[in-house]
């Protein structure tokens, strides 16, 4: 995944002196009997592009709507710039939202839609035109200023919605599935546009999405939510490479999970998963105590395939059961022990007709001692 901004340069969450822009403090939200948000604590920093990722019904939209002021926490507090924003209605918050349906006003032109919020702010009348012009330029909508929302395409409407929510220069912009209604090609282009706009305006973005690829692409940090709780909050590469739970490992991308028991070794640990198979060697600074139940998790692309037995730390013999051909890559489903299927991914750098392995082939899988992680939850 292309990462335009290496996180090395921007990581306020690692700086203890940095003050967070948004703080959730033990926030709980109940709708009648059901709990949408369960005792959640979270810090989001200025100029972050923060993604809330999770399956539908996990509470990510509720969390965002609480920032917008459309829901109030049942318990706990939300701070923006150190101020408890609980008592403020949506129109009194320096927060703007881009709605999933875009919610463009059908009776107003593109220009009037963008000017709508400005006319209700304390901006002098003669500056509104300039500001709207700037927004139209930013989103390349100058030609469509006089059109009504139903006279422009979906991608253009998406940009009007973005321009309208950015016009008041909010401290925080909320984006509810902003690209959900666009087709895949347009979505990819728009992702980079969003990142450019976020960077050039310096606004803090909080985005809600169920599309993990989108979250990984745009976000500085990703929060994975399940059942109203945060499971992991980390940079996209950490979420992918170092998930803390099997749920996160499984939710983001593809993963092989093997259940076993640990034992300590020199410089790391072994995971014993089958008495008739060699243990998996893992090098780690934080080995588990011996005989702990755990899962070994490894991404399919970190597993290599070869027909000759390779000289590697972890080698496993198996038979190819199935091949999923995706064009650029192929995923091989390899049975390594009765009923245990391991996925291995290889780039198709040769034409399909010259493929080295095929169904029923006996092959070797191998990976290094640092390729996978051991998880206890």
């Amino acid at each position: 995944m292309a990462q335009l901004k290496p996180n090395v340069f921007f990581a306020p969450w690692n700086d203890p002196a940095e003050k967070p822009l948004i703080q959730f403090k033990n926030v709980t939200k109940r709708f009648g009997e059901s709990i949408a948000i369960n005792n959640l604590t979270l810090d989001i920093y200025a100029q972050e592009f923060f993604a809330l990722l999770g399956p539908s019904g996990c509470g990510k939209t509720t969390l965002m709507r609480m920032l917008g002021g459309f829901e109030t926490p049942t318990e706990g507090q939300i701070f923006l710039d150190g101020v408890d924003i609980g008592p403020f209605p949506p129109n009194e918050r320096p927060v703007n939202m881009m709605f999933q349906s875009y919610a463009l006003f059908p009776h107003l032109t593109v220009w009037e839609n963008i000017a709508f919020g400005l006319k209700r702010s304390d901006m002098p009348k003669d500056q509104i035109g300039d500001r709207v012009g700037k927004m139209l330029k930013l989103t390349q909508l100058e030609k469509f200023a006089k059109r009504k929302p139903h006279q422009i395409s979906g991608g253009q409407r998406q940009r009007v919605a973005l321009a309208r929510s950015l016009a008041k220069a909010p401290k925080l912009l909320l984006l509810d599935e902003p690209l959900g209604a666009l087709d895949k090609k347009l979505r990819n282009e728009t992702q980079f546009e969003l990142m450019d706009i976020q960077e050039s305006t310096g606004t803090t973005f909080v985005i809600v999405t169920h599309d993990q690829e989108e979250a990984m692409t745009v976000a500085s940090r990703v929060a994975v939510m399940v059942d109203g709780q945060l499971v992991q909050v980390a940079t996209p590469d950490q979420i992918y490479e170092a998930p803390t739970t099997t749920y996160v490992a499984d939710f983001i991308g593809d993963v092989n999970l093997i259940e076993g028991k640990s034992s300590l070794t020199d410089g790391g640990m072994d995971v014993h998963w089958d008495d008739n198979q060699p243990a998996i060697h893992v090098t780690t600074d934080t080995p588990l105590a011996a005989r702990t139940s755990c899962h070994f998790a490894i991404r399919p692309e970190k597993v290599s395939i070869s027909s000759e037995k390779p000289n590697a730390v972890n080698v496993m013999k198996g038979k190819i059961i199935d091949i999923a051909y995706l064009g650029n890559i192929s995923t091989y489903y390899v049975e390594i022990s009765a009923g245990v299927i391991f996925k291995a991914q290889a780039t198709n750098n040769r034409r399909l007709s010259r493929r080295t392995y095929t169904w029923e082939d006996e092959i070797y899988l191998s990976w290094t001692d640092t390729a996978g992680v051991v998880l206890t939850e």
Partner: protein, 271 residues
């Protein structure tokens, strides 16, 4: 195209004849030259001319229009408010009761509505006149307005109001500058419906009118007891015309414009 069927054609013809033949005869006889209503003596528009000389009828017509205007305006305001609350307020205690009470006057026999209003006005010692008719008509017309506006609001994307709030509107400003312009066609057609309902109401007006506030339907009804005159035919023809035009405009606005508005909104939602 579906095949022509004698059964369908016959039922259609009978239905329309049943509905409109009496009115057609009334309209034809309003152009009768003879003073005798049932004897055709040639085409003439003289009764229309005489009608416009008849001060009693003209006064009644003026009162009727005033009553219809004020009652339909009040009914539109109240009915729109009721519809908005029923659709937006979500679930609250007594919601079913409240919505039932909004629609009850639709099925209530008019005699009962009229009688209870009469007793109410007497109890309050209000002199019956234009004001009481306006109030009475408002009560039953607002149900119709509320039905029309509710059906529009149900398909209204609530995110539009939230977006307005998000961009700095107070709840009232959001309603005024976003919701109201979008549901306007429904509100206007509700107003026209209320106007025509008030225009041709006889029963409730009879109960609530006073000596100086005879509406046109009351005037016609009492005149007919002394015998049908061609003048009344002419007057009735004019009323049929006004009501027809009103209903047609109302349905055109609510069908045509709101379908287009909804289609626009749908298109604006899609991408």
């Amino acid at each position: 195209m579906r095949r022509f069927s004698w059964f369908n054609a016959t039922s259609l013809t009978f239905g329309f004849v049943f509905l409109y033949l009496p009115m057609l005869i009334l309209i034809i006889y309003s152009f009768n030259e003879s003073r005798l209503v049932t004897v055709w003596a040639g085409f003439s528009t003289q009764w229309y001319g005489e009608l416009f000389q008849n001060k009693a009828f003209l006064d009644a017509a003026w009162i009727t229009i005033k009553v219809a205007f004020w009652s339909s305006t009040l009914a539109t305001i109240l009915g729109t408010m009721a519809a908005y609350i029923m659709v937006r307020a979500g679930r609250f205690r007594g919601r079913a009761l409240f919505s039932g009470m909004i629609y009850a006057p639709l099925v209530m026999p008019e005699v009962i509505t009229g009688l209870s209003l009469l007793l109410f006005f007497i109890a309050l010692d209000v002199n019956r006149g234009i004001l009481t008719i306006v109030l009475a008509h408002t009560t039953f017309a607002m149900c119709y307005v509320s039905v029309v506006v509710t059906s529009r609001l149900v398909s209204f994307d609530e995110a539009l109001e939230e977006a307005a709030r998000d961009l700095g509107c107070t709840p009232f400003d959001a309603f005024r500058s976003v919701t109201l312009p979008i549901i306007m066609p429904a509100v206007v057609s509700g107003w026209l419906l209320a106007f025509t309902l008030s225009l041709d109401d006889l029963v409730i007006a009879t109960f609530t009118s006073g000596p100086a506030s005879t509406t046109l339907p009351i005037k016609i009804f009492s005149a007919v007891r002394l015998g049908v005159t061609p003048e009344i035919n002419a007057l009735s023809t004019i009323m049929i015309l006004i009501v027809t035009v009103g209903v047609i405009i109302a349905s055109l606005i609510s069908r045509g414009v709101s379908i287009r508005a909804k289609a626009d909104e749908r298109k604006a939602e899609q991408s």
